[in-house]
């Protein structure tokens, strides 16, 4: 049997379905950072929420890994789950904040960015976009994600 590091994503997923937790570790080594990054972007820079979203993504991979149908790549599948989780968390968060404070939700920029003003403006501009368009922008500018892969994640044609 090949080592987890050398196995393909599909092989890792098959091993995971058969109960091999090292396969999950290998998948996490490949994609966890990227997933946290896109989740952070989608959740307005909230690292804690991004961690929760990615953790929930792994939970779903563990539970539903056996149902993966190989119609798309494992990578886009993982991103699709993460994006869906972020949408769910974001809408839940907004509802809760609207109910508690009655104010519109305001996201804050990441603390470690050098140009705070530009990032703040960008974040506000992104926030003003509809959910779907915001996701498209963030996925397209996400490092390591091609436009084709972004289209696959969102299940829309390239160039939409």
């Amino acid at each position: 049997m090949t080592k987890p590091e050398n196995a393909t994503d599909a092989q890792l997923l098959t091993r995971l379905s058969s109960g091999d937790s090292r396969a999950l570790e290998a998948l996490a080594n490949r994609y966890e950072k990227g997933l946290v990054g896109i989740a952070r972007g989608l959740l307005g820079g909230r690292q804690d929420l991004a961690d929760d979203a990615v953790q929930e993504t792994w939970v779903r991979v563990l539970r539903f890994g056996s149902t993966f149908s190989s119609k798309s790549s494992v990578k886009t599948w993982l991103y699709r789950i993460a994006v869906y989780q972020c949408h769910t968390m974001r809408s839940t968060m907004r509802r809760r904040e609207d109910r508690d404070t009655g104010r519109a939700h305001q996201t804050r920029p990441p603390a470690n960015t050098p140009d705070v003003d530009l990032v703040h403006d960008l974040t506000r501009a992104l926030d003003s976009l509809p959910e779907a368009k915001r996701t498209v922008v963030l996925l397209c500018y996400h490092r390591g994600m091609t436009h084709e892969q972004a289209a696959q994640v969102l299940e829309i044609p390239v160039g939409t």
Partner: protein, 401 residues
């Protein structure tokens, strides 16, 4: 916007989703969550599919639900059908009775707690509507001169009765009415000796009780012999006569029908009573107007004649119906038993194949009818089940990414 600032925006956009080190090994936490279950998380506990259910594919589960639904419908629909049709009703709207019905009295009302007409008002019976005499209007017109007191009284009286009859009279008498049913039975018999069976069947009647042979014929000889016999037997003795006839040979077919004429009887009775009342009134007028002109008296007599003619016609109809009800008609057809004469394996084989073919076609028709019933009858449920399945499938796909 300059190229530099555009590049800067792109860089910052990329930084917004820049891959970053997480606060910990999220996959390990996920493993812990899955191994301990969702109850370790705060908040409401979500329903977790049991292990045995996880092995069942959603499509298989959906198919199972559909099959169980179809089976339930197949079980429930015939019972609902029976509920809707408490008694077998013929194509002409008249209940048809089976041999069992006859043997247990045949005339028992299916819903004795309701209308005496078996849950259907006598006034809705098509036959009753047409029973209104078409010539009545013509007969009710009187040719008296204007200003005459007698015709005015008579016309008023006649109109009053016209308004009352027949519905008003029927309503008055629509209490506990005994049902009147004209019973008819047809029996086909196979026997080795047609002639002797014919004679024995003829002896099933009791002439002393008013029963008689309405028609009889015996044709052919040997294996081609056939006898037809129409018996008129007392309605109460019909089950007994049928039992006797069954013992005379092998019963090829048997059919018993009942034609409910209660409504007609009630209608005739009401009209008869109405005509008698009119007759009494006309007679009263005739006696009270001795000094009236001769033409008016003659006119009154003519009208009394019309009314009496109506009464006689109605009485004849009543008697005719009474005879039909009191005497059941039994048609007996006796044939030679061909199967016994030409007994052999080949004949048996052919007959079996023919029977099997007929039975198969019948079963095929029943199956197609059942499928059509389930598909068309349960269309609403199929649509609901389909939508539910689509929603469940969509939710499942979303959850699994």
């Amino acid at each position: 916007m300059s190229n530099t600032s555009a590049n800067s925006i792109e860089e910052h956009l990329a930084k917004l989703t820049e891959p970053a080190a997480s606060t910990g090994d999220l996959w390990k936490k996920a493993l812990a969550v899955v191994s301990t279950g969702p109850q370790t998380k705060k908040g409401p506990t979500r329903w977790k599919r049991p292990e045995w259910l996880r092995t069942v594919h959603p499509l298989m589960a959906a198919m199972l639900v559909i099959v169980v639904g179809a089976a339930l419908m197949a079980i429930l629909m015939p019972s609902l059908e029976r509920q809707r049709l408490p008694s077998a009703v013929g194509s002409n709207g008249i209940p048809s009775f089976t041999r069992a019905d006859v043997e247990r009295g045949m005339v028992a009302a299916p819903n004795s707690g309701g209308s005496p007409f078996g849950g259907r008002s006598a006034f809705e019976t098509p036959g009753l509507v047409s029973a209104e005499p078409s010539s009545a209007q013509g007969e009710y017109e009187y040719g008296f001169s204007e200003g005459s007191a007698a015709p005015a009284d008579m016309t008023r009286s006649r109109r009053m009765h016209q308004e009352q009859t027949p519905a008003a009279d029927l309503q008055e008498t629509a209490g506990p009415v005994e049902r009147a049913v004209v019973r008819k039975a047809t029996m086909e018999l196979k026997t080795d000796d047609v002639r002797s069976t014919f004679l024995k069947a003829s002896m099933a009647i009791r002439e002393a009780g008013g029963e008689y042979i309405q028609d009889s014929s015996l044709t052919g000889e040997g294996q081609h012999a056939q006898a037809n016999l129409t018996l008129r037997v007392a309605a109460g003795r019909l089950p007994e006569v049928l039992r006797e006839l069954r013992e005379l040979g092998e019963v090829d077919s048997e059919r018993v029908t009942g034609d409910d004429v209660t409504a007609q009887m009630v209608d005739i009775d009401a009209r008869l009573r109405n005509e008698r009342r009119i007759e009494q009134e006309l007679l009263g007028l005739l006696e009270a107007r001795d000094d009236s002109p001769l033409t008016e008296i003659l006119e009154l007599r003519t009208q009394i004649g019309y009314v009496r003619r109506n009464i006689e016609q109605l009485q004849a109809q009543q008697q005719q119906l009474g005879r039909l009800v009191s005497l059941a008609t039994v048609l007996v057809i006796i044939r030679h038993d061909q199967t016994k004469a030409a007994d052999g394996i080949w004949t048996y084989f052919k007959a079996s194949i023919v029977d099997a073919w007929s039975y198969g076609l019948g079963f095929l028709a029943d199956s197609v009818a059942w499928i059509v019933t389930v598909v068309v009858g349960g269309l609403v449920w199929w649509i609901i089940a389909g939508i539910a399945f689509l929603i469940a499938w969509h939710t499942y796909k979303k959850k699994s990414g």
